[in-house]
C-alpha cells in the first residue's frame, strides 16, 4: 500500500490544519450526499427487476446445493453485467464502482446463484494487467469465458477454497510476486459448502504452469486493488442479503400471532428487527461512501473499504440471525426462507477469510504500521 499520504488520521488532522491556516476553519468540510444519480437509479431498477424475475426464491432453492444457475448467468451477461465493469479503454462500458455496488446489492438481495462479484473483480484485474491478459479479457467480455479470483496469496502449505472455482474457466491469483491467470484443469472439483456457492478447493499445483500477467510490485498492488474491490462488491451484496433477511422477519412479525397479538407488537421482537434494519441501513451508506472514495479519491478513503466490509458482514449476519429467530421454529426449518439468507451471509464473506481481521488493516490504514 502506498505510504505517500501517511496514516489516515494524521492526514485528516493535517488537512484540517491546512484548512484552518487558509480559512480559519477547524472542522472537516466534506459534503455528505448519499443519493444515487439518475443513471445509478436506472441500474438499480433494471437489475432489480431482472433478478426479481430471474432469481426468485424457487430458483435459488433449485440451484442448491451447488449454487449456480446457468440461465441466470446468461441473462446477466446479456445485460452486460460483467462487461459494464471493465474500463472503456479495455473494451468494457466503464461503469464506476458505485454503480457496480448498486448491482451487487441486488445480487445479494435476491441471493442470485451467479458469481457476479468474483467475475467482476477478476475481470477488472485482467484489465489492469493490460496486454498480457488481453486474450482472456476478450473471452470474458464476449461471454465465452468466466473468470474468478483466488482471494488469498497462493501457498504450497495449504489448499485454497476459490469462489466460483467449480465453474470458472480461469482463476487470477497471486503467487509470490507474480499475478497469474490459470486455466481450468482436471481436479477443480466442487466443494459443497455452508454458503451454497460453487467453491472449488485448489492446491498450489493448480497454479504451477499458469500464465504470468504481471510481476513485482505492480502485481502485488494490482492484487491488493482486486481484493479491495472484492470487499466493496461483497459488502454491497451482504447489505442486500441483510435487507432481504430483515424484510422476511418484518413481514412475518406483522402476520404471525401469539398470545393474542401479532408478534411484531412485542418490543422484544420489534426492537431486534429495528436494530438489524439500522445496522443494514447504516451499512449501506457506509459501503457506498467507501465505493465513492475508491472511485474518486482513493487516497483519502482507503480505510473506509475494510470498515464498510467488516460492518456489512456484521450487519448481514445480524439481520439473518434475527430473521431466522423471529420466524421461530419455522425459521429453523429448511422450508423456511430465512435460512437461505443465513447461509449466504456467512458463505459469501468467510471465503475471503476471517472478516474480523479487517480490524488490523483498519488500524494500519488509520495509524500507520506499528513501529515495534
Amino acid at each position: 500500500m502506498s505510504q505517500h499520504y501517511g496514516p489516515t488520521w494524521r492526514h485528516e488532522v493535517q488537512q484540517r490544519e491546512l484548512m484552518a491556516a487558509m480559512t480559519g476553519i477547524s472542522v472537516s468540510l466534506r459534503q455528505a450526499d448519499y443519493s444515487l444519480s439518475e443513471e445509478q437509479e436506472a441500474v438499480q431498477s433494471s437489475f432489480g427487476a431482472l433478478l426479481a424475475r430471474a432469481s426468485p426464491i424457487e430458483k435459488v432453492r433449485a440451484a442448491e446445493p451447488f449454487g449456480f444457475d446457468a440461465e441466470l448467468w446468461e441473462q446477466l451477461n446479456e445485460m452486460r453485467a460483467i462487461a459494464m465493469a471493465v474500463p472503456e479503454a479495455s473494451g468494457g462500458d466503464g461503469a464506476d464502482l458505485v454503480a457496480l455496488c448498486v448491482v451487487a446489492e441486488q445480487i445479494g438481495r435476491y441471493l442470485a446463484p451467479a458469481p457476479f462479484v468474483e467475475a467482476v473483480s477478476a475481470a477488472r484485474l485482467l484489465a489492469r494487467a493490460g496486454s498480457a491478459a488481453a486474450a482472456e479479457l476478450e473471452a470474458v467480455l464476449s461471454g465465452r469465458a468466466m473468470v474468478t479470483l483466488a482471494l488469498h496469496p497462493v501457498t504450497s502449505a495449504a489448499d485454497q477454497l476459490v469462489p466460483a472455482g467449480a465453474i470458472a474457466d480461469h482463476v487470477v491469483a497471486l503467487v509470490d510476486d507474480q499475478l497469474v491467470c490459470a486455466p481450468r484443469t482436471e481436479g477443480w472439483d466442487r466443494a459443497d459448502n455452508h454458503g451454497r456457492t460453487p467453491l472449488a478447493r485448489l492446491p498450489a499445483v493448480a497454479f504451477e504452469n499458469a500464465k504470468v500477467i504481471q510481476s513485482g510490485e505492480d502485481a502485488r498492488l494490482t492484487f491488493a486493488q482486486g481484493i479491495a474491490e472484492w470487499k466493496l462488491l461483497t459488502g454491497a451484496a451482504l447489505i442486500g442479503i441483510g435487507e432481504g433477511a430483515n424484510s422476511i422477519g418484518v413481514e412475518y412479525a406483522k402476520v404471525r400471532s401469539a398470545f393474542g397479538s401479532p408478534i411484531g407488537a412485542f418490543q422484544a421482537v420489534s426492537h431486534q428487527l429495528v436494530d438489524a434494519a439500522m445496522a443494514v441501513a447504516a451499512g449501506r451508506r457506509l459501503l457506498f461512501k467507501a465505493a465513492w472514495f475508491a472511485e474518486h479519491e482513493a487516497h483519502a478513503g482507503r480505510h473506509l473499504i475494510p470498515m464498510a466490509y467488516l460492518h456489512a458482514e456484521r450487519a448481514s449476519l445480524l439481520a439473518a440471525t434475527v430473521a431466522v429467530h423471529v420466524l421461530g421454529g419455522v425459521g429453523f426449518t429448511v422450508d423456511g426462507d430465512a435460512q437461505l439468507f443465513f447461509r449466504r451471509a456467512k458463505g459469501w464473506s468467510l471465503v475471503g477469510g476471517d472478516p474480523n481481521r479487517e480490524i488490523h488493516l483498519i488500524a494500519d490504514l488509520l495509524f500507520g504500521p506499528a513501529t515495534r
Binding site: G24, V27, V250, A277, L286, K289, M307
Partner: protein, 394 residues
C-alpha cells in the same frame, strides 16, 4: 452521490474565520465556566452571538439575523460546537422559536422576536414531568381558564435552561375528561414567579425542576388552539426526533449525539502516540490498535446512520465507545478535568458520563425504536392502545 470537500466561497470562508476568532476571544472563559456550572449557556457568548445576528442566523439582517444560508448556518454551528461553545439554551430557544413563529399571535411575535434575536430573551422546554418522561401525552400540569388568563398548577422536570430562560414552552392539560392526546394545550409560559430548583446530573449538566402554583398567564401566550396541543407538539417533537427533517448535505461526525465520542476517539489516538512509563507507545500494541480501530469504526457507522436511526445509533455508539476508551487509557482516565495528571484534560472522563444522558434526550432510544418499528418497518403498534389508557391515572 458526492463526498467531495466543500467549495467554500469567500463570504463563507470569512464567516468561518470570524467564528474561529469569536471562539478565540470568548471560548476559553465560556468553556471553563461550563466545566464549573454545566449550565449550557454563557451570557456573554449568547449576547455576542446576538450582536452578530447568529442566534437567528438565517433571518434577514433587518430582523436581527445574519442573512446566512442554511448551509452557512450549519457550518457556523459546527465550528462553534467543535470549540465546545455551550449552546444548549440556544438550542432550546430555537425549538420554541419554531412553535412561536407557527402558532404565536402577531402581538407576541412583535413583542418577543427582536429580543430573542438579540439574545435578551431565551426559551426552555417544559415537557417532562416527574411522573412522565417520554410519555409526553400524559402531562398533568393543569391550565384552567380564568377570564382573560390561564392559571397553571403543576410541576415540570428536566427543564434544562430554565435558569437562563424567560419563557418555557409549556405542555399542559386543559381537558382531563377526554383521551389524553386530545386534552393538551401548549403555552409560551413566563417563568417569572415560577419556582426553579436546580438538578445536577451525572454528565455535569445542570437542569431544573420547575414549580407552578396558581401561576397566571394571559391567553395571548397560548400557542395553538385549546386542546390542540398534541399537534402543535408534533411539529416540535418531530424536530427532536428528527423525523421529516430535510437532510442538508453535511453530516456530524459520530451522528446526532456522537460528537463528544468522536472527539474522544481522536483524543485517545493522540494519547496512544505518547510513550508510556516503560518507553512503549500504546499505539504499537496490537490490542490497543484493534480497540481504537473498533472505536473509529463505531464513529463511522454512527455518522452514516440515516434519518431517525441516527439518534439511536449515535447514542448507542457514544455509550459503548466512551466506556471502552476510558478503559483503554487506564487508571489515570479516572482523573477529571482540572486534576493534575488527567488524560486529555479530562475529556475522556467527561465523555463517559455525558454519553449516558444521550439515551434519553428528546425521548428514550426505546421510544425511538418503537417509532421506527411502526413508521418505517410498518410493524403493529406496541404501546397499549388508547382505549385502555385514555385517561390520565390519579
Amino acid at each position: 452521490m458526492n463526498f467531495a470537500t466543500l467549495d467554500i466561497d469567500e463570504a463563507t470562508g470569512a464567516l468561518l474565520s470570524e467564528a474561529e476568532t469569536f471562539c478565540d476571544e470568548f471560548g476559553e472563559d465560556a468553556v471553563e465556566e461550563e466545566w464549573e456550572t454545566g449550565s449550557g449557556f454563557n451570557e456573554r457568548v449568547h449576547l455576542e452571538m446576538g450582536r452578530r445576528g447568529w442566534l437567528v442566523a438565517t433571518w434577514p439582517k433587518e430582523e436581527g439575523g445574519a442573512g446566512l444560508t442554511r448551509f452557512q448556518a450549519s457550518l457556523l454551528d459546527m465550528v462553534l460546537r467543535a470549540r465546545h461553545i455551550p449552546l444548549i439554551t440556544k438550542g432550546t430557544t430555537d425549538v420554541v422559536l419554531g412553535a412561536v413563529l407557527k402558532y404565536g399571535n402577531d402581538e407576541i411575535k412583535a413583542e418577543l422576536l427582536p429580543r430573542v434575536a438579540a439574545g435578551e430573551i431565551r426559551f426552555c422546554l417544559g415537557y417532562t414531568e416527574p411522573d412522565g418522561g417520554s410519555d409526553l401525552a400524559a402531562a398533568r400540569t393543569r391550565a384552567v381558564r380564568d377570564g382573560e388568563d390561564w392559571v397553571i398548577d403543576g410541576q415540570k422536570m428536566f427543564t434544562t435552561g430554565a435558569q437562563n430562560a424567560h419563557y418555557a414552552f409549556l405542555v399542559t392539560r386543559t381537558n382531563p375528561d377526554v383521551e389524553k392526546h386530545k386534552g393538551l394545550t401548549t403555552f409560551l409560559c413566563s417563568l417569572e414567579g415560577a419556582g426553579i430548583s436546580p438538578v445536577h446530573t451525572l454528565g455535569g449538566e445542570r437542569t431544573n425542576m420547575v414549580f407552578f402554583e396558581g401561576h397566571r398567564i394571559p391567553d395571548r401566550f397560548r400557542l395553538g388552539p385549546v386542546d390542540a396541543g398534541w399537534s402543535v407538539l408534533a411539529g416540535s417533537l418531530d424536530e427532536e426526533h428528527a423525523i421529516g427533517q430535510v437532510e442538508v448535505a453535511l453530516e456530524r461526525r459520530g451522528g446526532m449525539y456522537g460528537m463528544v465520542a468522536a472527539e474522544a476517539v481522536e483524543l485517545a489516538i493522540e494519547w496512544a502516540h505518547l510513550s508510556g512509563p516503560d518507553g512503549d507507545r500504546p499505539i504499537d500494541d496490537p490490542f490497543v490498535r484493534a480497540r481504537l480501530a473498533e472505536a473509529a469504526l463505531g464513529v463511522e457507522v454512527a455518522t452514516a446512520s440515516p434519518g431517525p436511526m441516527n439518534r439511536i445509533a449515535s447514542s448507542d455508539m457514544a455509550i459503548a465507545v466512551s466506556a471502552d476508551l476510558l478503559d483503554l487509557v487506564g487508571p489515570l482516565g479516572l482523573l477529571p478535568h482540572g486534576q493534575d495528571g488527567s488524560v486529555a484534560d479530562g475529556w475522556l472522563e467527561y465523555s463517559h458520563r455525558f454519553a449516558q444522558g444521550t439515551a434519553t434526550y428528546g425521548g428514550t432510544v426505546e421510544v425511538q425504536r418503537n417509532l421506527i418499528a411502526e413508521r418505517f418497518l410498518g410493524l403493529p403498534r406496541s404501546t397499549p392502545s388508547s382505549r385502555n389508557t385514555n385517561k390520565v391515572v390519579g
